[in-house]
């Protein structure tokens, strides 16, 4: 990257859902920026709000509070034509390639659909040609173009989803666990494809996943989430070399390593994830944290420990 230019900026984003038993704080005060051509990895366990964050970012859901900027422009609450324009710049790839394609629509039509909806092409043949180019780009054979989704395997289906997301030539793609439903040998090919496309087209990704080895491979920056809160945010290398938040430590130590000779010392967490519904103020990890004290139940702030390395833990200096 010659000069990092901010594409997406998120400030204090909040997304609450009303549920019968109260308020689900799915995303609670998250801020970050994503530069053009770079990837932000968002890591966390199920229910930490990472998928909601992605959907809110690309205007599939409206944020409760906070601001989203795209190319320096406030796009938090937009509607009508403006929303349509912005949506064309932001796309999403989902986890499950089985439910993210309509089972009754042939894959060529599925890729053509965004083109049709955008009215960029008047002529049907032009659209077909463009769809053909897209499918070639993601490596779908010509003979498969008239197939239905159920006739393809997961990896190819995910490629079709990628082609569909690329159709409108977006700047930014949210990848919501795009490879976690795939087998490892196929997962690698899809990851390669995503990285190649990023190089060719200068795409920015927000890569949501629970798989730390994947996120390490693909991301420039990583943001670790726990129950809707951002607990740590820094560059990828920095995170793996120098993780500071107790939750990040536990998460990293829990990954089953393929190194059979040096078994890592695992940090055993007590208890289970608490509920994000009507949470108490303060650090939400405190209930499982081995270092928790009284002070942890006060609202926490993001502390910049070193340049661009933010941690939300009041005891971070004592622990490390």
């Amino acid at each position: 990257m010659s000069e990092a230019k901010t594409l997406i900026e998120v400030q204090h984003l909040k997304k609450y859902f009303k549920v019968p038993s109260g308020m689900n704080h799915a995303v609670d005060d998250v801020s970050f920026t994503i530069n053009r051509g770079e990837t932000l990895g968002v890591v966390g366990e199920s229910g930490c709000g990472k998928s909601t964050l992605g959907r809110t970012l690309i205007h599939l859901q409206e944020p409760t509070d906070g601001k989203i900027f795209l190319d320096g422009e406030d796009v938090t609450n937009i509607s009508g034509e403006k929303l349509k324009m912005v949506r064309e710049k932001e796309q999403i790839i989902f986890q499950d390639p089985y439910s993210s394609l309509n089972p009754r629509i042939k894959i060529e039509s599925a890729v053509m659909e965004p083109l049709k909806c955008s009215h960029r092409f008047k002529d049907k043949n032009q659209m077909k040609e463009e769809a053909g180019k897209l499918m070639e780009l993601v490596g779908i054979d010509e003979r498969l173009r008239q197939s239905y989704p159920h006739e393809l395997d997961g990896g190819r289906r995910q490629r079709v989803c990628i082609a569909r997301a690329l159709a409108l030539n977006p700047d930014f793609i949210v990848c919501d666990e795009p490879v976690s439903a795939l087998d490892v040998s196929i997962q690698a090919a899809v990851l390669n494809l995503l990285m190649d496309l990023q190089d060719q087209r200068g795409l920015s990704y927000m890569f949501v996943t629970h798989d730390l080895s994947v996120v390490r491979h693909i991301s420039d920056h990583i943001c670790v989430m726990y129950l809707g809160q951002m607990v740590e945010k820094c560059e990828t290398k920095e995170l793996f070399a120098n993780h500071l938040h107790p939750y990040t430590k536990a998460l990293l130590s829990a990954i089953p390593s393929t190194n059979v000779h040096a078994p890592i010392k695992r940090i055993q967490l007590k208890g289970e994830i608490t509920s994000p519904i009507n949470p108490k103020p303060g650090c939400r990890f405190a209930a499982r944290c081995p270092y928790a004290t009284e002070a942890c139940h006060q609202p926490q702030e993001l502390i910049e420990i070193s340049k661009n390395h933010f941690v939300s833990c009041c005891r971070v200096r004592e622990i490390n």
Partner: protein, 289 residues
């Protein structure tokens, strides 16, 4: 996986569907019976020398003979001719009424399911009230208000089964719209009508087709009941239910007056239910390859 080395070439979907429907023995039997009944009703009159309303007072209450295979009724009309003409009404009535109510159910149900919120509340509460009235009562009410005749009978029969279909479609739409392909469509600005008609409905409609097919039988029985109590299609039009009603006073003396239309109704309903069952398993994605 299996698509690795073959060029995809397929037969039209509906042919494949028909093949799967008749794969089971029951559905095959149903299809054969139904086809025979249909042919009998459509082409039978061409070969019959009697009209359905030709009165022949010389041969009243006749049992089955070569001239009149199903006998004659109280006015000496040929039962076979009446059965053939009556079948046209009965079956058409059943098909039209159940598909009309399916159509209305699809429209209401998908609006309720897709838009949600107040729209959904209003539609579904109306359906709740609606379905709290007994279906037969509604039929009678509509027939009484609209008067008798073919179209008003269709309407009367349609009205009763709308709430069930609406609920079913709404449930399907709710389930389907949470899938990610709908979100993906929203993300690329797919217009709402297109999401509804292109994406949601084709994936929701299958159980409705099965339900509508299965309901043809019960609607026919309802139509027969309406005619039986004197509403619905009026004499001298030979509708199966009306024929039953005509014959009811002779149940002890001339049972064939009841047996012939009664058996015709029973056979048709059975055939349609068998077919519907086959359709259900043919449409079940779990049973498809």
């Amino acid at each position: 996986m299996s698509s690795e080395n073959k060029n995809i070439k397929r037969q039209p979907e509906w042919i494949a569907l028909c093949r799967r429907v008749v794969k089971s023995g029951g559905a095959k039997l149903g299809a054969i019976i139904f086809a025979i009944i249909l042919l009998f009703c459509i082409f039978g009159p061409l070969f019959s020398s009697y009209g359905p309303n030709d009165i022949d007072l010389m041969s009243m209450y006749g049992g089955p003979t070569l001239k009149h295979p199903f006998g004659t009724d109280a006015l000496g009309r040929d039962m076979m001719a009446r059965l053939m003409y009556g079948g046209r009404y009965s079956i058409l009535l059943g098909i039209m009424a159940s598909f009309c109510s399916a159509f209305i159910g699809i429209v209401l149900g998908s609006i309720a399911g897709y838009f949600g919120g107040h729209t959904e509340t209003i539609i579904m509460r109306i359906m709740d009230i609606w379905s709290s009235l007994p279906g037969m009562l509604l039929c009678i009410l509509v027939s009484a208000v609209m008067g008798s005749g073919f179209l008003s009978t269709v309407l009367a029969l349609t009205v009763g089964s709308i709430p069930g279909g609406t609920r079913m479609i709404r449930g399907q739409v709710l389930q389907e719209r949470s899938k990610e392909y709908v979100e993906a469509a929203e993300a690329f600005n797919c217009p709402k009508y297109s999401i509804m008609f292109r994406h949601l409905l084709p994936n929701c409609i299958q159980p409705m087709i099965v339900m509508a097919t299965m309901s043809i039988g019960s609607v026919m029985i309802q139509a027969a009941s309406l005619s039986y109590i004197g509403l619905g299609v009026q004499p001298p039009t030979p509708e199966w239910g009306a024929m039953l009603a005509d014959g009811r006073s002779y149940i002890r003396t001339y049972p064939h007056l009841l047996l012939v239309p009664g058996l015709a109704i029973a056979a048709t309903v059975l055939a349609i239910n068998l077919l519907g069952d086959g359709l259900r398993s043919a449409l079940d994605p779990k049973l498809r390859d």
